[in-house]
């Protein structure tokens, strides 16, 4: 159990926590108490556990900095979730929280010795060493990798449930502070469907914990009024605890809330995301207990946690003084306000009147204490970044920083707004945001409460009008003189020795930035890359501006000329699982899929489809496949070919159209006949093959391969948009089921069924096509022979697929019919010497190389690819696809893509090879140089292990060269 409680038991503090619901959890195994509504960090802070983590490089102790999830100091591990922001993550009873990045305990981190070696680790040190002698890096890399990295992934972690939702709105308002609320209310009141998204559980932004002028009551009253009004508007939808992490083009936004990714389409978007606090850079400015004034206010107002007993405030604006009032109200002693300038006004007077010591024109220059700040050194400022030698030490246990802000321009920048540096306010500003994007509040450079309200209202109603298609008005004036009094121009004070942190995530100090420039990396982009400034989990939110300032000071360039590094999405880190969601992956199943499952099919993927590879156990695959082949060769087999593409081409120009799309000639093709089709692209590369079936003078049914049908369909419609032929092309792939009944018993099987098609040999010859009914089912029957046996490819409306499959299986049973899969079909087609486009051709194969010269119509004036094929024919080919057989039956069986080697050179490649049980030898197809393609020519294939297998060129088909069997 940790130290005593640090809670404030007063009204007006602890807005988010429920004192009646205490809970306990563990941090590094120790039990801690908190309340419902606490974050991990607030509960720990409330129990005096200020130390949260160790830093990335030097392993220095770190505590909360922003209390808003915007720094790496609060990264912890919660169960299997790495890099959890302890200051955002709600605490829950019983959770086990672990600190990260230390060896031994968080209190006594053995790696903290790194802090003393820092002088040996100059900026970019890893570029300067660890590489001599050659090869030494691999011995250094592993320990460096282990030292780097923050959280830990558990490879056994479960995949949790995440999902996605789509939202549509006229106006999206990002940020529910006063500006966002005013803008959203105005937009909704103007009539727009409005969506307001805020990352916190309660609306109000800084009104939840800050002050309006010096009044906490005014902030509370304003918040209550605005929230009540917003909640009462029918057209205003509110999402809290949700963070907009990216804005993309055309009003597309990503937001994350809980385990859900919202994808939002908005006609207009208003970014009212506020600003990011900027640190005061001085020696040991990273000690736990030193935090932004807003972080302290959040601790007090939201969680009822006192940041310390005795505080020092370093500020250059009224916000620091406002925080002093909060501390006093919470019962914390304010030892001093150190004002970098001479801030004046009622808030300053109020602080002074409560007896607080105010030191003007001075800054913090040092901090003592290790695991928590114990005192700070104060010195007078004598020039930009310079201080007097005399240091006044003040004892304290917490330090609040308020020396400036940087508007949250990330989202506007994602969407395409240009970001410039505005000298007048010493802050960046988004200019010329793209259409549909506007900014409000601090993000727009508007700060004073009255101006924020007026500007945001005008922005909200303008967005509503634009969303309704009405002309927008002139953009409201975003010029706010008070903005100039917020951000100190150079809150950077280098000490003689020690570390003054610019980037807390990456452990970068003033010296690192100066030395980057000194090493020649003088462009801000190079500084960032060389030093890694801004590359850590907070992505430069607190480091960019000061890095730019130092580069400006060293190079003498004005800040506006230095530019800034580009903002990249996401605004806040997004879990992989948020992006993945439920990861829907479409799967296409044929009508007979369940029958295949019942038959014990092993499936393979073919594009989105699942197809049976073979029917039987994996352990017995080879024998099963051989049995399926034997059934087709000796009796009959049935294969589901529903995945084949089917295109209906109808119209007076159907034949002429096909003539132009494919390489062969179709105009004279008789009705009732099929003809082989070969398609190339414009450069003559083979992309598809199939058959064209002419069912009527004006109607062709063309098949395409499973994987290419979409591409073929697109090519056809693209062509005909331009050709304007009188033809209609429809992709009917999904509308038809198809199965190929093949084997010597095929005819006998169909003839047992009721049909109006004459299946007799003479009436329905090879390459004939018929329409009719089979067992009452409407069918298109193609007598084609991919597998080299008599057979019928039967296509029917997809809804009948399973019924027809069942009918054929039943009818075939007495004849020895077996279902066969893709594996058997591969063997059968190869025995027949048929190519598979994509396996026996590659991304550059032309029809001549593929041995398909016979399918090129010589007389047609045009077909796609004709000119390119002719050009290549004239040039001469360098390879040709031929059949081969392995000549030594004792040799190992080559595999697809084994190479053909001659005299130590690659001369060819096997594209398909099988051990054919039917033929009793190993056969295949291979590319060979044209000089080696005569039948009987011998060559050698190099197989696994390097053995050379002798083979010879064999004419195809290997099986049934007379093509007698398909004509039975």
């Amino acid at each position: 159990m940790s130290g005593h409680s640090n809670r404030i038991e007063k009204p007006g503090f602890g807005l988010l926590i429920d004192h009646t619901k205490p809970l306990s959890f563990t941090f590094d195994g120790k039990l801690f108490n908190g309340f419902n509504g606490d974050t991990i960090a607030s509960a720990l802070y409330g129990s005096q556990q200020v130390l949260l983590s160790r830093s990335f490089k030097y392993h220095r102790p770190r505590g909360a900095l922003t209390m808003n999830g915007l720094d790496a100091n609060t990264l912890v591990q919660v169960a299997d979730e790495p890099n959890v922001r302890a200051d955002l993550h709600p605490v829950a009873a019983g959770i086990a929280v672990k600190s990260i990045n230390h060896l031994g305990s968080l209190q006594r981190d053995a790696f903290s010795v790194m802090d003393y070696f820092s002088r040996f680790l100059p900026v970019g040190f890893y570029y300067k060493t660890f590489f001599r002698p050659a090869g030494i890096w691999k011995y250094f890399e592993r320990p460096i990798r282990i030292m780097a990295g923050l959280g830990t992934l558990d490879p056994r972690a479960d995949h949790k449930y995440y999902d996605k939702a789509y939202l549509f709105t006229d106006v999206l308002v990002v940020g529910g502070g006063s500006a966002g609320l005013e803008a959203a209310i105005a937009a909704a009141e103007t009539g727009a469907e409005t969506l307001l998204i805020d990352e916190n559980s309660q609306l109000g932004g800084s009104l939840l914990y800050g002050r309006v002028s010096d009044s906490r009551e005014a902030a509370d009253t304003l918040r209550t009024r605005l929230v009540a009004k917003a909640r009462g508007l029918e057209k205003l939808t509110i999402l809290t605890s949700t963070v907009v992490s990216g804005l993309f083009s055309d009003g597309w936004a990503a937001a994350i809330g809980g385990n859900r990714l919202y994808k939002i389409r908005a006609r207009q978007t208003i970014v009212a995301a506020g600003s990011f606090d900027q640190p005061l850079v001085f020696r040991n400015n990273d000690r736990p207990g030193i935090l932004f004034a807003t972080a302290a206010q959040r601790l007090m107002r939201l969680y009822g946690v006192r940041p310390g007993n005795r505080a020092v405030i370093a500020t250059s604006n009224t916000f620091g003084y406002e925080a002093a009032l909060d501390l006093l109200d919470a019962g914390t002693e304010v030892a001093a306000v150190i004002d970098l300038g001479t801030t004046s006004g009622p808030t300053v007077d109020a602080v002074r009147s409560r007896g607080v010591r105010i030191v003007t024109g001075s800054t913090l220059v040092d901090a003592k204490g290790y695991l928590r700040v114990e005192s700070v050194g104060v010195a007078a400022i004598t020039g930009q970044g310079k201080t007097a030698a005399a240091t006044d030490w003040i004892t304290c246990d917490c330090v609040l920083i308020s020396v400036g802000c940087s508007p949250a321009l990330n989202l506007a920048s994602h969407a395409g707004a240009k970001v410039i540096f505005d000298d007048a306010i010493q802050m960046h500003r988004a200019v010329s945001p793209p259409e549909g994007i506007a900014l409000a509040g601090a993000a727009a450079g508007v700060w004073s409460p009255a101006r924020v309200a007026a500007h945001a209202k005008a922005t909200g109603s303008a967005a509503a009008r634009l969303a309704a298609g009405e002309p927008g008005s002139e953009p409201p004036d975003a010029d706010d003189p008070t903005a100039a009094a917020i951000t100190h121009p150079y809150p950077i004070f280098k000490s003689g020795k020690g570390k003054e942190f610019i980037d807390f995530d990456e452990d970068l100090t003033i010296k690192d930035i100066i030395n980057s420039v000194k090493d020649g990396y003088d462009d801000i982009q190079l500084v960032k890359r060389y030093s890694t400034a801004g590359l850590g989990p907070s992505q430069g939110r607190h480091a960019n501006l000061n890095t730019i300032r130092i580069v400006g000071a060293v190079t003498g360039k004005p800040l506006a000329a230095i530019g800034t590094t580009t903002f990249r999405p996401p605004l806040v880190p997004e879990k992989f699982a948020h992006m993945a969601g439920r990861a829907f992956e479409p799967v296409r199943l044929t009508s007979m899929h369940h029958r295949h499952q019942e038959l014990g099919a092993q499936f393979m993927t073919a594009g989105l489809w699942l197809r049976p590879a073979y029917y039987g156990s994996k352990d017995d695959a080879a024998r099963t496949i051989d049995d399926e082949v034997r059934a087709v060769r000796t009796a009959a087999g049935l294969i589901d070919v529903s995945t084949l593409g089917g295109l209906d081409i109808r119209g007076p120009d159907a034949a002429a159209f096909i003539d132009r799309m494919y390489t062969w000639a179709y105009e004279k093709q008789p009705v009732g006949r099929a003809r082989y089709t070969l398609m190339t692209d414009m450069s003559g590369v083979v992309i598809d093959d199939g058959v064209a079936c002419r069912f009527a003078p004006n109607h062709y049914y063309v098949t395409a391969t499973t994987s290419a049908v979409d591409q073929v369909y697109r090519a056809m419609t693209w062509s005909n948009v331009q050709w304007k032929m009188d033809v209609d092309v429809a992709n009917v792939t999904a509308a038809y089921s198809a199965m190929n009944l093949a084997g010597p018993k095929a005819r006998a099987i169909v003839q047992t069924l009721t049909t109006d098609i004459d299946f007799s040999k003479d009436a329905f010859p090879y390459m004939g096509v018929r329409t009719g009914t089979l067992a009452g089912i409407p069918v298109r029957v193609l007598r084609v022979g991919f597998v080299g046996e008599a057979g019928y490819e039967i296509h029917c409306p997809a809804g009948y697929g399973e019924a027809l499959w069942d009918i054929l299986m039943t009818a075939g049973k007495p004849h020895g019919l077996k279902p066969f899969g893709v594996e058997a079909q591969r063997i059968l087609r190869l025995e027949k010497g048929h190519i598979i486009v994509g396996q026996d051709t590659d991304g550059l194969t032309n029809p001549i190389e593929a041995g398909m010269d016979w399918a090129l119509a010589k007389k047609k004036p045009f077909y796609i690819g004709k000119r390119s094929i002719e050009l290549q024919a004239a040039k001469g080919i360098t390879r040709k696809l031929v059949g081969f057989a392995v000549t030594d039956s004792a040799s190992p069986v080559p595999k697809d893509c084994h190479l053909i080697i001659r005299d130590g050179e690659i001369v060819g490649r096997v594209t398909s090879v099988v051990k054919s049980a039917t033929l009793g030898k190993v056969i295949g197809l291979a590319y060979l140089p044209p000089t080696m393609t005569d039948a009987g020519q011998r060559f050698e294939i190099r197989v696994d292990g390097g053995a050379m297998v002798p083979a010879e060129v064999v004419p195809t088909p290997f099986y049934d060269p007379q093509n007698a069997r398909q004509d039975i």
Binding site: F248, S249, D250, W252, K263, R265, G416, D653, A656, D659, R660, M682, S683, Y713, R714, T717, W718, V721, Q722, W723, K724, M725, D726, N731, K860, P861, F862, K866, R867, S868, L871
Partner: protein, 118 residues
């Protein structure tokens, strides 16, 4: 997720569309020199700026023409192919000659421009 205004289907998410590449007139394959033909096949304007190109609405397999700015990632305009043709000084110039009848049918242009602003 960008929105593309399909001339047939109206505004839809760009994930429904397939990029078809720049519109480039095909030289007459029967008359072009080898060089002209290979340049047509392989070389691209690849302009940074306003370009005219093919897009396909995949679910309806509908091809159309878009004018797009390749620097700003904005669709300037989408239109039917006929509307595009109607804007060309010589409408028939984009149709390769030397091809089989009836493909050389005259292109009807003018009346229906079908252009939609993106």
């Amino acid at each position: 997720m960008k929105i593309v205004n399909c001339p047939l289907n109206g505004p839809r998410n760009i994930s429904e569309f397939v990029w078809g590449g720049e519109v480039k007139p095909m030289p007459d394959p029967a008359k072009a020199t080898d060089r002209e033909w290979t340049e047509y096949l392989f070389l691209e304007e690849n302009l940074a700026g306003d370009i005219t190109e093919w897009w396909l609405h995949a679910p309806t397999n509908y091809w159309f023409i878009a004018r797009r700015n390749t620097i700003t990632d904005q669709f300037l305009e989408t239109m039917t192919y006929d509307a595009f043709l109607a804007r060309q000084p010589l409408a028939s110039a984009v149709i390769p000659s030397g091809e089989a009848e009836p493909a050389a049918k005259p292109v009807t242009g003018g009346g229906d421009t079908g252009a939609t602003s993106a």
